[in-house]
């Protein structure tokens, strides 16, 4: 493990980031929906090397029944990292980080699910991080949102996530793991892009108020770009269907 004191070069001599990106550039993003047969909805999303699978079951009867609510569906959300997803093998037991992320991801999706439509039911969202290279929670939210739409669960909007950061004093978009580890700030953010509502916002690191505003703007722009890809992937599933001979 590289010591924090032996920091790698985060910016190249040509001014580009260590992986050749401009500060406002996203990693290559790939998305697919309907990848699992059993789940009611599913999506596989990649931001660069970070790869996340999201599956949605529901609305269905919750087990045990008593956790249900009489006036709306409950959401159950589990964020989990596969043992082989990180540099060093991660124990399958839920870590404190996974517990916190399960909570903030659920809270990022709650405002958009029209849960009053299904009293006493449960909508279950299972997120599996298959490969982690920074921004796993925001990639997860993007994937979970697609999986909800794929399951036909009525939602007010999609939710799109991206992590911005401050690296060597520069505010950058879509940080990867190296930039997260050695940078000065890591700010994951998710928003419902049509509604303009932020549903996840965290900051690990330090920013001045003006850096924060710059980072917020950069993130909201990045979110709009990623949203376009989400839209495409939902529409493509149907537009591509051809009449068979």
């Amino acid at each position: 493990m590289v010591s924090k004191e032996e920091k790698p070069k985060l910016f190249r001599d040509d001014g580009l980031r260590h992986d050749g990106r401009r500060p406002d550039e996203l990693r290559p993003i790939k998305m697919q929906v309907g990848v699992l047969k059993n789940a009611n909805g599913s999506a596989l999303v990649e931001y660069g090397k970070t790869r996340v699978l999201a599956a949605v079951y529901g609305p269905r009867e919750p087990q045990p029944k008593h956790i249900s609510l009489p006036y709306r569906a409950i959401l159950r959300c589990r964020y989990h990292m596969a043992p082989f997803s990180t540099h060093e093998r991660k124990s399958p037991a839920p870590s404190r980080r996974e517990i916190e992320l399960s909570k903030v991801i659920r809270e990022a999706l709650e405002p958009i699910v029209i849960s009053e439509m299904f009293p006493r039911a449960s909508i279950d969202i299972f997120i599996e991080v298959l490969n982690a290279d920074g921004g796993t929670r925001t990639t997860s939210i993007t994937a979970a949102s697609l999986a909800l739409a794929d399951a036909g669960i009525p939602v007010r909007d999609l939710v799109t996530g991206v992590a911005v950061g401050k690296v060597d004093g520069v505010i950058v978009l879509d940080i990867d793991e190296v930039e997260d580890m050695y940078g000065e700030a890591d700010m994951p953010i998710a928003a419902a892009p049509s509604l303009g509502k932020i549903t996840l916002l965290q900051l690990n690191g330090v920013l001045t108020p003006s850096e924060f505003e710059e980072a917020l703007d950069l993130a909201m722009n990045g979110i709009q770009e990623i949203y376009k890809i989400q839209r495409e992937v939902l529409k493509t599933k149907y537009l591509k269907a051809k009449v068979e001979e």
Binding site: S3, R76, P111, L201, Q202, L203, L216
Partner: protein, 308 residues
């Protein structure tokens, strides 16, 4: 797995409606201003066995933060730094909603938010906590104990943590080659601190922001934003907590308000520590003179006893 909470503090609908309609008029049920913190009491050096501690009462919310320094091995990627570990316990005594057992997602979130607020900004000067480079360092264990839940546990805990850290002391440790002897009865000096940080929690109902929500306000809020503010006027952490959503302008307004309130709270903590230090040295003087006079009394008693 995180589940939509179903056993939140339940207040009668009519009461909830009153609270909301008052807030919409800019008034809080308790008479507090929208930007006011509740009454804040801080007692430092509260736990004799801890290396640093503080008891905080924020309105009716009561928490204790205890700091203990123990020997440990440094993290592999920071061999020349001490370490911090933050955990929180929501004891069942504190609320009918708390069940015995391992920390739930709320306790874990609280601990991690406070941990992050101290880490990146390097509030504690971890470089000064090394005993044998690469091998033995001081680990600063910060344990937050929530004793009574009346809302805004995060800010109360953050204030207690700051007060405990600012009054914590490093135990004496003698390094002899590869061996270290720790003498907990003696302290070498205060815990080295670089920065002071507190969290300020701001709740939102419709478009109205309120600072330091109490437990009833927490049940009617749309959502909360926790902002960690440092004494050098930077944002040292953020956590949107709860089920609602915020637009960009609301976020900017809330952080601006938090920067202002955070500064005020840090000043209150500093003043409180100053006052108790003065009080402590005044006490020492008083104790010394009592001891002197006690010797006389005890002598007097002995004489009395003998005479019986």
């Amino acid at each position: 797995m995180s589940i939509t909470p179903s056993s939140d503090y339940i207040i009668p609908k009519l009461k909830a409606e009153t609270i909301v309609s008052l807030i919409r008029k800019g008034v809080r049920a308790s008479g507090r201003g929208l930007e006011d913190f509740r009454e804040l009491d801080i007692v430092t050096n509260y736990i004799p066995n801890a290396d640093g501690s503080a008891f905080v009462k924020l309105g009716n919310t009561q928490v204790i933060a205890g700091v203990k320094l123990e020997l440990g091995t440094p993290y592999p990627d920071t061999p020349n730094e001490g370490a911090i570990v933050v955990s929180a316990e929501f004891v069942p005594a504190a609320s009918p909603l708390f069940e015995p057992g391992p920390p739930d997602e709320n306790a874990i979130e609280l601990a991690r938010v406070i941990d992050r607020s101290l880490r990146e900004i390097k509030a504690i000067d971890l470089g000064k906590l090394v005993l044998i480079p690469g091998k033995r360092v001081w680990v600063v264990w910060i344990d937050i104990y929530v004793l009574d839940h009346d809302g805004n546990l995060i800010d109360a805990s953050s204030i207690a943590t700051l007060a405990a850290l600012l009054t914590a002391r490093v135990p004496k440790a003698e390094v002899e080659g590869e061996e270290i002897r720790v003498d907990k009865s003696e302290y070498t000096g205060p815990l080295p601190m670089n920065r002071k940080v507190v969290t300020v929690t701001i709740g939102k109902i419709d478009k109205i922001m309120l600072v330091d929500p109490d437990i009833e306000e927490e049940t009617v809020l749309d959502t909360k934003l926790v902002i960690a503010v440092s004494d050098d006027e930077r944002i040292a952490g953020l956590q949107k907590s709860g089920m609602g959503a915020l637009d960009k302008n609301e976020v900017l307004k809330m952080t601006e308000l938090a920067m202002k309130k955070g500064k005020e709270i840090i000043e209150i903590v500093e003043k409180s520590i100053e006052a108790s230090t003065r009080g402590a040295s005044a006490e020492q003087t008083a104790r010394k003179s009592r001891e002197d006079s006690e010797d006389t009394d005890m002598k007097g008693e002995n004489e009395e006893e003998t005479s019986q």
